[in-house]
C-alpha cells in the first residue's frame, strides 16, 4: 500500500460571515498534492487562493469538506494540536518576510525550534545549518535591517526549513523582490523540491508560476484548471550594472 498523499482536499468549502452577508471563499475544492511537487496556485485577488493557502497551512479551518494532511483529518484538531502539527510539518514564507527586527538572522531562524522545545545548543546548530543551506551562513549575526530584500527572504526560507517540514507554503514570496532576486528565490525552491520538500506557492505573476511543475488556477472559489508542466529551470542572470541586490 502506498503512503497517503501529503495533502488531500475533498470538496473543501469555506464560508465567511460578514454581518448578514455570507462570503463563499471556497466553493468545494478537491485536489491532491504529492510529496516533492512544486505547485503554484494562481488567481486574481478574491479567487480564494489565499483562503486555500491558509487552510493548507492550518491557520484556518474549512467550513465544509475534509482536509487530510499526511492522511490525517486535521480540520477537527484542537488549536493546540494544530500549532504542533504546523510547527512540525509546515514552513511559512511570506511576501513581507515577517522577520523580527532587532534580532539576528540566526535567532530569527531559531524561532520555530523554540516552540518545538529544542535546547539552545541544538537550536543554534540547526539554525546555522539552515542558514548555510540558503547560502547565508556567513551572515548569521546580521540583523534584518542590515540585509537586502533577497537576503531577508532567504533568512525567512531558512526559518521555514529549520524544522525540516514536509511542506513549504509560500504566499507571494517574490512580491516584494525585484526580478533577479525573484529568480534566486525560485532557484532555491526548485532545489528544495529536488530534495523531497513539497512547495506550494501562491502568486499572481505568470513569470513566477513557470518555475513550478504544476499550476492550479483558481477563480471564484473553485479550481479553474490544474495542469502539470515542465518547469522552467531557474538560472540567475549574471549580475548587471544598476542591479544592486545581493551584490557580493
Amino acid at each position: 500500500m502506498s503512503p497517503p498523499p501529503l495533502i488531500q482536499f475533498k470538496d473543501v468549502a469555506k464560508v465567511y460571515r460578514m454581518g448578514d452577508v455570507e462570503v463563499h471563499a471556497l466553493r468545494g475544492v478537491s485536489l491532491t498534492v504529492e510529496q516533492g511537487e512544486f505547485t503554484a496556485i494562481m488567481g486574481a485577488s478574491g479567487s480564494g487562493k489565499s483562503t486555500l493557502m491558509n487552510i493548507v497551512g492550518l491557520l484556518d479551518r474549512p467550513t465544509g469538506g475534509v482536509y487530510l494532511l499526511e492522511g490525517e483529518a486535521v480540520s477537527t484538531l484542537s488549536t493546540e494540536r494544530l500549532a504542533e502539527v504546523r510547527n512540525r510539518t509546515i514552513g511559512f514564507v511570506f511576501q513581507s518576510f515577517n522577520l523580527l527586527s532587532r534580532t539576528s538572522a540566526l535567532e530569527n531562524v531559531e524561532l520555530p525550534l523554540l516552540y518545538a522545545g529544542a535546547g539552545s545548543a541544538e537550536r543554534r546548530r540547526r539554525a546555522a545549518a539552515s542558514l548555510d543551506r540558503v547560502g547565508l551562513g556567513s551572515r548569521s549575526d546580521h540583523h534584518p535591517n542590515q540585509m537586502s530584500g533577497g537576503q531577508q527572504q532567504r533568512v525567512a526560507i531558512a526559518r521555514a526549513l529549520v524544522t525540516e517540514p514536509r511542506v513549504i507554503l509560500a504566499d507571494e514570496p517574490t512580491g516584494n523582490l525585484d526580478s533577479r532576486t525573484s529568480v534566486e528565490v525560485m532557484q532555491l525552491f526548485q532545489e528544495l523540491g529536488r530534495s523531497g520538500i513539497t512547495v506550494v506557492l501562491v502568486t499572481h505573476e505568470p513569470d513566477i508560476s513557470q518555475y513550478a511543475s504544476r499550476v492550479i488556477q483558481m477563480r471564484d472559489g473553485r479550481v479553474l484548471s490544474d495542469e502539470r508542466q515542465e518547469p522552467k529551470v531557474a538560472v540567475v542572470p549574471p549580475w548587471t550594472e544598476g542591479d544592486e541586490e545581493d551584490q557580493p
Binding site: 491557520l59 488549536t79 493546540e80 511559512f92 515577517n98 516552540y115 522545545g117 526559518r159
Partner: protein, 409 residues
C-alpha cells in the same frame, strides 16, 4: 517552550525598548519605594513610642487612693488615704492576673553625701517595685524583702543622684548617704532609664525600703498606705482584666454599695501606650494605603503599555503562531513580560525605598525600622500587580487570529 526560554524571550522584548520599559516600571518603583519608606518611618516612630513606655514599666497599673472632701473642697486623687496594707496584700495574693504589686510612698527631700547635697525624690517601696519597672541595678545589689521586714537603712539610688553626689564614674556602693539627716548605706545604683515623655528624669530618685521610709523619713498612718500602689499584670493581654478585678476586689473590701463612686482610681498605663501606638499605626496605615494606590496606578501603567505592545507586535504574534506557538505560549510570554516589568520595578523600588527612608531618617533625625516581611510583601504585591494587569493584554494577544495578525499593518 520551557519557562527559562519564555523568560529570555520576554527579557529580550523588554530590552528592545529600554526607555519605554523603564518608564513603565516607574509607577511600580514609586509605589513600592513609597510603601517601604513609609512603613519604615512609621514603624520607627512606633518603636520609639514603645521604648518610651517600656521605660515606664510594662503592663503597669497604678492604683491611687480616693479623694478627701473637707468643707466642700474636693481634695483631688490621693488626698485621702483609702487603701490599706491589707488591700495591697489582697491584690498580691488574690488576683491571678497580677504578677507583682508594690506600694509607693513618695516625698521630696535633701540627700547628702560627704561633700555634696542634692534635692531629689525619695521613694519608699518594696523589692517588687524594681520587678514592675523592669529596673535592674548597674552596680551593687537591690535591697530585699528582708530589708523591708527589718527596716534596714539601705538605699538604692538613681544614676542622676549618683552623679550629683559622688561624681561621674565613681562607685557609690557601700558609701554613706544622709537622707533627711538619717544615715543610709548605698547598696545599688540603678541602670539609666532616661527621661519620660514629659521630661521627668526617671534617674533622679533615691529608693529605700518602705518600712524604713515610714520609720525614718515620713511618719505614717498605721493601716493606710499614704501613697499609691503600682501593679503589673501578667501580660499585656491581661492588663485590662487585672484592672477590673482589682476594682471589684477593692470595692468589695471597702464595702462600697452598688452605684457608689469608687474611693480610689486605677490608671492603666498600657492603655495610654496603646493609644499612642494606635495613633502611629493609623498614620502608617494611611501612608501605606496611599502607597498602595500608587502601586495600583503603576499597574494600570503596565497594562496600558502592554496593550500598546500587543497592538504594535501583532504581526510578530501572528508569525509566532504560524511557526508553532500555541495560544498558551503567547499568553505566557506577555504575562512574563508584564511580570518582569513589575518585579523589576518592585526590586528597584525596594532599593529606593530603603535608601529614601535612610536619607529621611538621617536628615530629620527620625528613627526607621526596616521590616523584611513588608519588603517581601511589597515585592510580591508588585508581582501580583504585574500578573493582574498583564492578564488582560496577554489574553488579548493569545486570542489573536494568526491570519489577521499576519496581515496587520
Amino acid at each position: 517552550m520551557n519557562p527559562l526560554q519564555t523568560l529570555r524571550v520576554a527579557l529580550r522584548a523588554l530590552t528592545r525598548n529600554k526607555m519605554r520599559s523603564f518608564l513603565t516600571t516607574l509607577g511600580v518603583v514609586i509605589g513600592v519605594s513609597a510603601v517601604i519608606a513609609m512603613v519604615a518611618i512609621g514603624d520607627g516612630a512606633k518603636a520609639r513610642v514603645e521604648a518610651t513606655f517600656a521605660a515606664m514599666g510594662s503592663n503597669m497599673l497604678i492604683v491611687i487612693p480616693g479623694t478627701s472632701t473637707g468643707g466642700g473642697a474636693m481634695g483631688g486623687f490621693g488626698s485621702m488615704p483609702t487603701l490599706t496594707w491589707d488591700d495591697l496584700r489582697a491584690i498580691q495574693t488574690e488576683i491571678p492576673t497580677v504578677r507583682a504589686a508594690a506600694a509607693q510612698l513618695r516625698t521630696n527631700g535633701q540627700v547628702m553625701s560627704e561633700d555634696q547635697n542634692w534635692g531629689t525624690q525619695i521613694l519608699g517601696t518594696s523589692p517588687e517595685y524594681f520587678q514592675i519597672r523592669t529596673w535592674a541595678p548597674a552596680l551593687g545589689t537591690l535591697f530585699t524583702q528582708g530589708d523591708v521586714e527589718t527596716g534596714t537603712k539601705v538605699v538604692v539610688i538613681g544614676q542622676t543622684v549618683a552623679d550629683k553626689l559622688f561624681g561621674q564614674n565613681a562607685n557609690p556602693v557601700g558609701q554613706n548617704l544622709r537622707i533627711k539627716n538619717v544615715p543610709f548605706v548605698v547598696v545599688a545604683v540603678l541602670n539609666k532609664k532616661g527621661q519620660s515623655q514629659w521630661g521627668q528624669d526617671y534617674d533622679d530618685i533615691v529608693i529605700v525600703p518602705v518600712t524604713t521610709y515610714q520609720q525614718k523619713i515620713k511618719g505614717a498612718l498605721k493601716n493606710f498606705v499614704e501613697g499609691s500602689l503600682t501593679v503589673s499584670a501578667t501580660s499585656a493581654d491581661t492588663t485590662s482584666r487585672a484592672e477590673s478585678q482589682i476594682r471589684a476586689l477593692l470595692r468589695d473590701r471597702h464595702r462600697l454599695p452598688l452605684g457608689a463612686d469608687d474611693d480610689f482610681s486605677i490608671r492603666n498605663l498600657s492603655e495610654v501606650a496603646s493609644a499612642q501606638q494606635e495613633g502611629t499605626r493609623t498614620l502608617t496605615t494611611l501612608l501605606a494605603a496611599i502607597a498602595a494606590v500608587s502601586l495600583l496606578v503603576g499597574g494600570i501603567g503596565i497594562m496600558n503599555i502592554m496593550l500598546v505592545s500587543v497592538t504594535e507586535r501583532t504581526r510578530e504574534i501572528g508569525l509566532r503562531m504560524a511557526v508553532g506557538a500555541k495560544p498558551a505560549d503567547i499568553r505566557l510570554q506577555f504575562l512574563v513580560e508584564a511580570l518582569a516589568l513589575a518585579i523589576t520595578g518592585g526590586l528597584i523600588g525596594v532599593g529606593l525605598g530603603v535608601f529614601g527612608a535612610w536619607w529621611l531618617a538621617t536628615s530629620f533625625g527620625w528613627q526607621v525600622l526596616y521590616r523584611p516581611d513588608v519588603i517581601a510583601i511589597a515585592v510580591c504585591f508588585s508581582g501580583l500587580v504585574g500578573v493582574v494587569f498583564g492578564l488582560y493584554p496577554a489574553h488579548k494577544a493569545s486570542r489573536l487570529d494568526p491570519i489577521t495578525a499576519l496581515r496587520f499593518e
